[in-house]
Symmetry: none
Subunit: 364 residues, 2 copies
């Protein structure tokens, strides 16, 4: 076995999910994530955890959903009972075709999703972590050769997370103490209030309220957004390419939008509900193991030299106890490159210039 | 998709498991059984059943067991809760190496198995059915070309089950009414009591208390076994080849054993627990779609011209209401060829001679 797969399993089990003896673990395995599943199983055996593996296949899901009449039973009790007794839910994604469910109608997906709200909540109550096994299908999505993609993915995943968490703590502290953020870049001059909000140091570990591996971002929930922003990182949203999306905010809401490509998709998203016109997230990418865009949000939004904003739902972790932030059925991240002629200010002080953080300026 | 895969799914879901709308189904998928899983998922969607797929991989199990210290938690509650809420458990086996767990120590397997007795009981309380997806690894185990093996397997699986069930009813009647069975063949002269026991007409459907697809055997739970038996059908047990196993019984228990090959494995099995030294099953193979040994117990024991016996656990279906039969953590089937110079007697009357049944003698 490729030694990197074992290291990936080590990070997932020990750093990310903090698995201990006696933990009831569900390991959700994609059809082409077998090798990582073997490495994770070995690690779970070492830790004395209790392993149940589930099979997560887009093709199986597609066949089931296509044949169903869309009248789904609410929260089937066998899956709910499983999830309620689960301490740790590890999802290792990796199919053979990232478009495996492309022809399942939206209303079928929505009906299936809505019928499973309690199962989903129970899963979010576990120490859940989602990761991907870098395989050929994901390499293809990223326009990379297989071995090239493996190097890319493991560079992002096999980091010194403890040291990255320490660095990200600087940014969290600045955001927690600050009241207003200003982002300036080409086509962007945006101010947001972060007064009273708590930033998440997303260090790829449940110990940091962080549930993705890789991670490497610090994010918070902004409000009262004013100004304009351009998202120049290319991406695919709902199956459509979008390029250079521009948004204009007044009183926290989008009042105008445009895009070089995919403006229709942006319009649809903004029309989803009231909350879809406001920001739910400001995130600062700090994982320098990620050195290029691959049109996979799990990686792209964590990349160093980028800042991302999400239209829609805010995460509870960023809000004062008991307070609910921006509410919406959508949460759509878009990314802007801040590597050149850019600055991020907190309460008038520059904390990031041309992608470099204040605490690193002396080294350069 | 090969039309035979869809037919296999039809037989499994409708004839074997009698799946209905609202059933909570667990589909246990082997790593190389994906195509059948897709066909079964489609069928389950049509029926309006609730699908949860689990991943059953010998390599994952091996990695977990090898790394574990053998102090397994008793009946982990997440898996037990799942099984207790499950109506139908469908196991579609098919890995890439039938020897995937060959180097897991016997004591580890036994400890793991013993720690899961309640989960196993809960699974046996469902409408469970076990089948295989004919793949290259199984073809190799059977010493067959892949396409040859597919034909072999589908001949066994895609039968007219209703008509086979009718023929098997004859044998069930003889066994139900009889008190003592005697099996005589080369190296075999064994008597067993079947007084008060109920035979199962194993017609590959839960409606017949039959849980394997293919099936095609009639079996009961013998007691008070006396004499000697030779299992001349070659097979692999726990990863090791065994050849010509000989057992000697007194007062229902094995008092001596030997084998041309694999005697150690037999010794390990007999030492598993007290019940492992007694018989749990006498079965008569009646599926003439199976025309050769393939070292796969699911097929071999159903073959016409064979009789098999199992050390260990007896099936409750064979016992009077409320009575428990031979109890054990193991159930290990071994097979003897009765096609030549053999006879099966019930209460002194020959019912099968050289593989042919009494009700067919007139035809020959």
């Amino acid at each position: 076995m490729d030694e990197r797969i074992r290291k990936h399993a080590d990070v997932l089990v020990d750093w990310s999910a903090r698995v201990e003896a006696g933990d009831n673990v569900v390991l959700s395995v994609g059809p082409d994530a077998h090798e990582l599943a073997v490495a994770v199983a070995e690690k779970l055996g070492e830790r004395g955890a209790n392993l149940l593996a589930t099979y997560s296949s887009g093709e199986v899901t597609r066949a089931y959903l296509q044949a169903h009449d869309d009248e789904f039973d609410e929260n089937p009790s066998h899956e709910r009972a499983l999830m309620e007794e689960t301490d740790v839910y590890l999802s290792i994604r990796g199919g053979r075709n990232t478009s495996a469910t492309a022809d399942v109608p939206g209303k079928t997906r929505t009906a299936h999703r809505q019928a499973r709200d309690e199962i989903r909540e129970a899963r979010y109550d576990t120490r859940w972590v989602s990761t991907v096994h870098p395989n050929r299908s994901l390499a293809q999505q990223a326009n990379m050769a297989y071995e090239e993609y493996q190097e890319f993915a493991y560079d992002a995943i096999l980091r010194d997370w403890e040291s990255l968490a320490d660095e990200m703590a600087n940014m969290k502290e600045l955001l927690d103490e600050g009241s207003e953020v200003r982002l300036v870049s080409e086509g962007t001059d945006l101010t947001m209030s972060i007064e009273g909000r708590t930033a998440v140091n997303s260090a790829a570990s449940v110990a940091y309220d962080s549930h993705n591996l890789p991670s490497g971002e610090v994010f918070t929930a902004p409000a009262a957004t004013e100004g304009e922003v351009t998202f120049d990182v290319p991406m695919t949203l709902r199956g459509d390419a979008v390029r250079n999306v521009q948004l204009e905010f007044e009183d926290g809401e989008v009042v105008d939008y445009d895009a070089d490509q995919g403006a229709d998709v942006i319009g649809d998203i903004l029309d989803a509900d009231e909350g879809a016109r406001r920001l739910g997230e400001l995130g600062i990418g700090m994982n320098r193991g990620i050195d290029r865009y691959t049109d996979n949000i799990l990686f792209d939004e964590k990349m160093g030299d980028t800042v991302h904003l999400a239209l829609g739902r805010a995460y509870d972790a960023c809000l004062p106890e008991g307070e609910t932030g921006n509410d919406s059925a959508v949460h759509v991240d878009m990314i802007t490159d801040v590597s050149e002629e850019s600055r991020l200010e907190i309460d008038g002080e520059v904390v990031q210039r041309d992608g470099r953080f204040r605490w690193n300026w002396d080294d350069e």
